[in-house]
């Protein structure tokens, strides 16, 4: 298995999850088992007592739900603590209606899903042969997710919002990758992380833009100050993009179907009520800024409609249960995004209402799919199911309720979700209304197909799973479905919460929201009737339409954004490999990589600054003749060092260059330097010869007979000449005319030397004025000795 295949999905999700997925699960299942055996942990058992971790998680979530509800009923409240005063960051949380709505969803649905997970996860782990202790990380990340959602729902500071935003992405990453040995989990987790993580950076950029413009990250303060303008539009668009990506909207939607590699409770929670909801939450939270720009609103409307239609169409064609639901989620969040895009009170409050109504129904449906799959021994293809109502009537009934809620049938909360959409759309003319109405038509068709093919008809294969499902696998579905029904009949709580949440999104303006059944011929009712008729018709005749939808799905997958994602990942890896082939691997070019850019930069420096009059030849007269001669000698020796074939001759030439320089120092009035230079050159010669004596004879001369390839025959001297030229320029340039001929420290040193009890000023500097340098220099010598010892002792031992 190459990495490419693991990183990059190679096929359309349907195909991959079927073939590649099962193939790898075979192999990795074995690895997991052997790993479990090696660790001494037996595989999880599907039966036994209810897992305490799940119980604990569910209890905590339920308590959090109760606390949130209590706090909300007591009028909300806020926490405001300093966090990072340097950037004006505050830990500012407020439980307003918008926050309460999402926090209640996250904790409430969380509690129900955790209850469901207890039994489900044991079944899942035992199916894979993994030990029960693997579930600990599952609950840890689920709880982290819950906490992050509550934080996200209540945060009032953009940077704080970003922190929780990314925390949800982290939790989601590890939950999708829970079956880390499966190829699908591998690529699905990476995809979700890349898509939501990278787009999260857009939220950060937008926030920083607002910070730079308004001097604060505090959302209420920014909203109070915000004035429409291009900067605000860009910031709002970036934030909206982050929200759209998280809500799995076209063109970022593809991460969601791939995230179905996660265990079903994760989907029931994250991919219906929480993770995807975070995107809409962000839009609702920053809506006062977003609605300043028509462009952003129109963009959201278009994206919402596109997601609604594309998601609905593809959902109609999917075979796997969770794939149907995933595309349905794309479509349903399209409703909400479209509502926010339509704008106004209806849009803002409607968006909030739809989130809740959808979350209840979709969460239940995901759990239905999980229950059915578990009861069928892992079967998750619609074509292989059927007639399941006989074996699991409660699930079938609850599922029917949830499906009805999703399809917007009367008596469920879902009915109002459609009605609100129609109402908002009607204000924008017939075209928008028609487009919007197409969504529910498709919903009715795909969800009807989903429910019907699971529960109706005759069983295609005998169920191989457990004969009866545990109560904790069924009850959570029933609870959510019933809540959907209750809110369909008793509309007041959800209505007021959504209205107030909408008002938060509108920056405090009241958002009227009237949710009630009207038995009259008002437009929304008529549209709803039309939708039911068309939807029913579509459901009845969908086999005939299927090729059209399938063609669309095929085209969308083949040429859609997922394809772009996959191919850009592949291209990036390919580009990297191509680039790596040019990576320098030998010393010569590593040296050239320093010298050549240095030469370029020096040239640039010349072009950028005036050079006229900056260079001086310096005084030179007849008395300097000896100096000029030794300098010439040194230069000649250095040039000669390039020629010799034998290493020993090279060392001799090198020494003569050094001695010539020592003579130069002596003539320049620097006897101390000259003395040390002579000594150091002597030592060098000694060391070179000593090291050469370590090498077998002939090696030094033989290597030199190697011929130089023609490509290098000119390049090396050229680089050398260029570096010589830039050295000339730099040294001449910096050693020419010091502009301020003010006091120099050297004069003070000469004055003060007697005070340091020394006649030789240089020695005074070395041992007194700059003794710290001398000490550090001596340290270099000691370290060199240590390094030499280390290198040679290993040379000896090797």
């Amino acid at each position: 298995m190459t990495l490419d295949r693991r990183t990059v999905p190679t096929e359309a999700p349907e195909a991959r999850t079927s073939e590649a997925g099962s193939a790898t699960s075979d192999r990795t299942g074995r690895t997991a088992e052997s790993g479990a055996a090696a660790d001494g942990h037996p595989p999880a058992r599907p039966d036994g007592p209810f897992p305490p971790a799940a119980a604990l998680a569910a209890t905590l979530a339920a308590l959090a739900f109760a606390a949130t509800l209590y706090a909300w009923l007591r009028g909300g409240g806020s926490i405001d603590l300093p966090w990072a005063p340097t950037l004006g960051l505050r830990l500012h949380f407020r439980l307003d209606a918008l926050g309460a709505l999402y926090a209640l969803l996250a904790t409430g649905i969380g509690a129900v899903v955790f209850l469901y997970s207890g039994r489900y996860l044991r079944l899942h782990l035992s199916h894979q042969g993994r030990p029960a202790r693997d579930e600990r990380s599952f609950y840890a990340f689920m709880l982290l997710f819950t906490v992050s959602m509550v934080g996200l729902a209540t945060a009032q500071d953009l940077l704080l919002l970003f922190v929780f935003w990314d925390l949800t992405a982290i939790a989601s990453y590890f939950l999708i990758g829970f079956d880390r040995h499966e190829a699908a989990s591998w690529s699905g987790a990476l995809m979700a992380l890349l898509v939501t993580g990278i787009t999260a950076v857009l939220l950060l950029v937008g926030s920083v833009m607002l910070f730079v413009a308004y001097g604060t990250f505090s959302l209420p303060e920014i909203i109070a100050e915000a004035r429409p303008g291009p900067a605000l539009t860009v910031a709002a668009a970036l934030i909206a993009l982050a929200g759209l990506a998280k809500s799995a909207q076209v063109p970022f939607h593809f991460w969601l179907p791939n995230a179905m590699a996660a265990p079903t409770p994760v989907s029931a929670y994250l991919h219906s009520a929480a993770m995807v909801a975070a995107g809409v939450l962000l839009i609702g939270r920053t809506y006062p800024l977003l609605q300043e720009s028509e462009l952003v609103l129109d963009g959201m409307l278009v994206v919402g409609l596109a997601s609604m239609l594309a998601g609905g169409l593809i959902a109609l064609t999917r075979e796997r249960l969770k794939q149907v639901l995933a595309y349905s989620t794309v479509a349903q969040y399209g409703y909400m995004v479209a509502l926010y895009g339509l704008g106004g009170a209806a849009g803002a409050a409607g968006g909030a209402f739809v989130v809740a109504a959808h979350a209840l129904a979709k969460s239940a449906l995901f759990m239905v799919s999980g229950a059915v799959t578990r009861a069928s021994g892992g079967e998750e293809r619609l074509g292989r199911l059927g007639g399941r109502w006989r074996t699991m009537p409660v699930v079938a009934g609850a599922g029917a309720l949830a499906a009805a809620a999703l399809a917007g049938l009367p008596l469920t909360a879902g009915f109002f979700k459609d009605e609100l959409l129609f109402k908002a759309a009607l204000e924008h003319g017939p075209v928008v209304t028609a487009l919007v109405a197409a969504g529910p038509v498709l919903t009715l068709a795909y969800i009807g197909r989903f429910w019907g093919r699971i529960f109706l008809g005759s069983p295609k294969e005998a169920p191989t799973g457990p004969r009866s499902l545990a109560t904790t696998l069924v009850a959570p579905i029933a609870v959510l479905a019933l809540i959907s029904l209750v809110f369909g009949l008793w509309t007041a709580p959800l209505e007021s919460l959504a209205a107030e949440a909408g008002s938060v999104s509108l920056g405090g303006e009241p958002a009227g929201l009237s949710v009630a059944y009207h038995l009259d011929a008002r437009a929304t009712n008529l549209i709803a009737l039309g939708v039911y008729t068309l939807g029913g018709l579509l459901l009845a005749t969908y086999p005939r339409w299927l090729p059209v939808a399938q063609a669309f799905a095929l085209v969308a997958l083949r040429f859609g954004p997922e394809r772009a994602y996959v191919s850009s990942l592949r291209q990036a890896n390919r580009l990297s490999s191509a680039l790596h082939r040019f990576e320098v691997r030998d010393l010569r070019r590593r040296v050239a990589a320093v010298l050549v850019p240095c030469g370029v930069l020096v040239t640039a420096g010349f072009l950028a600054t005036p050079t006229l009059g900056q260079y001086e030849v310096g005084p030179l007269d007849g008395r300097d003749a000896p100096l000029a001669i030794v300098l010439a000698l040194a230069a000649a020796a250095a040039l000669a060092a390039m020629a010799p074939r034998s290493q020993l001759v090279l060392v001799l030439v090198l020494s003569s260059a050094g001695y010539s320089l020592a003579a130069v120092f002596a003539l320049l009035g620097a006897p101390d330097v000259a003395l040390v230079a002579v000594l150091v050159e002597t030592l060098f010669a000694l060391l070179f010869v000593a090291v050469f004596s370590l090498l077998p004879g002939g090696v030094l001369d033989r290597e030199q007979s190697l011929s130089v390839p023609p490509s290098r025959r000119w390049r090396d001297p050229l680089i050398a000449v260029v570096s010589g030229l830039f050295a000339l320029a730099v040294v001449w340039g910096t050693l020419s005319s010091p502009v301020p001929r003010g006091p120099r420290i050297s004069e003070r040193l000469i004055e003060l030397a007697p005070a340091a009890h020394a006649q030789d000023v240089v020695t005074a500097i070395l041992s007194d004025f700059r003794g710290l340098d001398t000490l550090a220099e001596a340290t270099v010598l000691l370290i060199a000795l240590a390094g030499v010892g280390g290198a040679l002792s290993r040379a000896r031992s090797s």
Binding site: R6, T7, A84, P85, T86, L87, F162, V163, D166, A169, I170, A189, L190, L194, G197, I198, V201, L204, V205, M209, A572, L575, S576, H580, L587, R589, R590, A593, V594, V602, A604, G605, T609, Q614, A727, V730, T734, L735, S736, P738, V739, P740, I745, R748, L752, D768, F769, R770, L772, D773, A776, E777, T779, I783, A786, G787, G790, A791, R794, S797
Partner: protein
């Protein structure tokens, strides 16, 4: 009160000299070195606390006039980098001690490097800076042979040759600085260079930039870096990437913003271009690599690009961003490199923290680096810069998590088990990275103070 000023330098220096004679493979000796470094870090922390509270502390050797004697000064910028470097070195030494030191002179060399770096960050004298720079570098050359494999000797040779070239260029710059200003004391140098000829000053600036770019491993000066980091043992790689590379960041800040502000402004576009090229080049190279050390080496090339870009942006925001990014990057690299030869799910968690920090996902501290970088980019009003930082981040997502999944999910690191105690340091670093992200005030305040310590470019 000059005694405390020298104490952080004196402790490791003396300790290292003593340690040279002892066999570092004996656990007692290694723990002795750890103790010395811990004492050093404590002294440094006390000094730093005083500096942050009351402002810079300064002394001149021998009570001579400044310039005659060597000026030693602890200011916020130096303290920040000294603390980071020493903490990383200590972490690496503890890590290696727990795993078992394999070289006779390893502890001594590590402590020598701490001494050299401290001296360098305290130096307020151009030549003194160079001397301590060489103390740190020669320790690094010797350290990079640690492990004793053939490839390490080859890498050390490459490392030494290329960096020596950089050092000599820097030395030529020092000669130029002295000739142009008549002094070596940095305060005098600053005023002297402000009055120097523009051509001479820009040439000095170029040499300094090249010297520090080589240390940082910036594209296109980088080719020595992968060979050294890949060949080195994890502890050594952590020290090189987390501590030694700070010389480059600090040097660019100190010499650029403090001594050559006019040249920095004039050449800011060069810095931004070099930094951007590094960001993209490092990230693209990292994507296709499969070995942890290779990915991290190229990631290091990319990450230092951000520091350079931030310095190029300049101003209080840019310089503060550069300091903060260098700090966070040092910690990230120490954490990630030290984890290379470890296994187990806890190490996986620690590695994930490091990976999230590199890509800038909160609550890992790295997100602060991204925040300040974007702030610097937005304030310049350059769309291209913001897009570049975004792109660099996006690519780092890809390479970090490809690596994480290969190593910890696909089981590339499952073979063999590491002793639990060897994981301690990595876990501590991971917690530190998380804590600094969750409570960002210290990092933000410290990097702001450090940027303010820089001369005329500061606010």
């Amino acid at each position: 009160m000059t005694d405390l000023l020298f104490l952080p330098l004196l402790v490791p220096w003396l300790a290292a000299v003593g340690l040279v004679l002892l066999d570092g493979r004996r656990p007692g000796v290694a723990w002795l070195a750890v103790g010395a470094l811990a004492a050093h870090l404590a002294a440094l922390a006390v000094l730093a606390a005083r500096v942050f509270e009351r402002g810079p502390e300064q002394a001149v050797t021998g009570e001579w006039p400044a310039g005659v004697g060597i000026v030693v000064r602890a200011d916020a910028l130096g303290m920040v980098f000294a603390l980071l470097s020493s903490a990383v070195i200590l972490a690496a030494l503890v890590h290696e001690t727990l795993a078992g030191v394999g070289g006779r002179r390893f502890p001594a060399l590590v402590v020598f490097m701490a001494a050299g770096l401290t001296g360098l960050f305290l130096a307020r004298d151009v030549f003194n800076f160079y001397v301590f720079f060489e103390v740190a570098m020669i320790s690094a050359y010797a350290l990079s042979t640690y492990g004793g494999e053939a490839r390490q000797a080859g890498a050390a040779f490459v490392f030494a040759v290329v960096n020596l070239l950089g050092s000599f260029l820097f030395l030529i710059a020092v000669a130029g600085i002295y000739h142009q200003t008549g002094t070596l004391d940095m305060d005098g140098v600053t005023t002297g260079l402000a009055a120097a000829g523009p051509n001479a000053a820009i040439l000095i600036a170029v040499l300094v930039l090249v010297a520090f770019s080589v240390k940082l491993g910036l594209f296109p000066f980088h080719p020595w870096l992968p060979a050294v980091y890949i060949g080195a043992r994890p502890a050594v790689a952590a020290i090189l990437a987390g501590a030694l590379a700070n010389i480059g960041s600090y040097g660019v800040l100190r010499f650029g913003a403090d001594l050559l502000p006019a040249q920095l402004r004039a050449g800011s576009i060069v810095l931004v271009v070099l930094g951007s090229a590094s960001i993209v080049y490092g990230a693209v190279q990292a994507i296709g690599r499969r070995d942890s050390a290779e990915v991290l080496a190229y990631s290091a090339i990319g990450q230092v690009g951000y520091v350079l870009v931030a310095v190029g942006v300049g101003g209080a925001v840019g310089l503060g961003a550069a300091v903060l990014y260098a700090l966070v990057n040092g910690l990230n690299k120490a954490l990630l490199f030290l984890s290379i030869d470890l296994r187990g799910w806890l190490v996986g968690a620690a590695f994930a923290v490091g990976a999230f920090s590199v890509v800038g996902v909160p609550p890992a501290a790295g997100f602060l680096g991204k925040v300040v970088m974007f702030r610097a980019g937005v304030e310049t009003g350059s769309v291209a810069l913001v897009v570049l930082i975004f792109l660099g981040g996006a690519l780092s997502f890809l390479y970090m998590f490809q690596l994480y999944q290969t190593d910890f999910w696909a089981g590339a690191r499952e073979v063999g088990r590491s002793a639990p105690r060897t994981r301690v340091v990595v876990l501590v670093l991971a917690v530190l990275v998380l804590a600094l992200g969750a409570w960002p005030e210290p990092l933000l305040a410290v990097s702001r103070d450090a940027a303010e310590a820089l001369g005329p470019e500061g606010p």
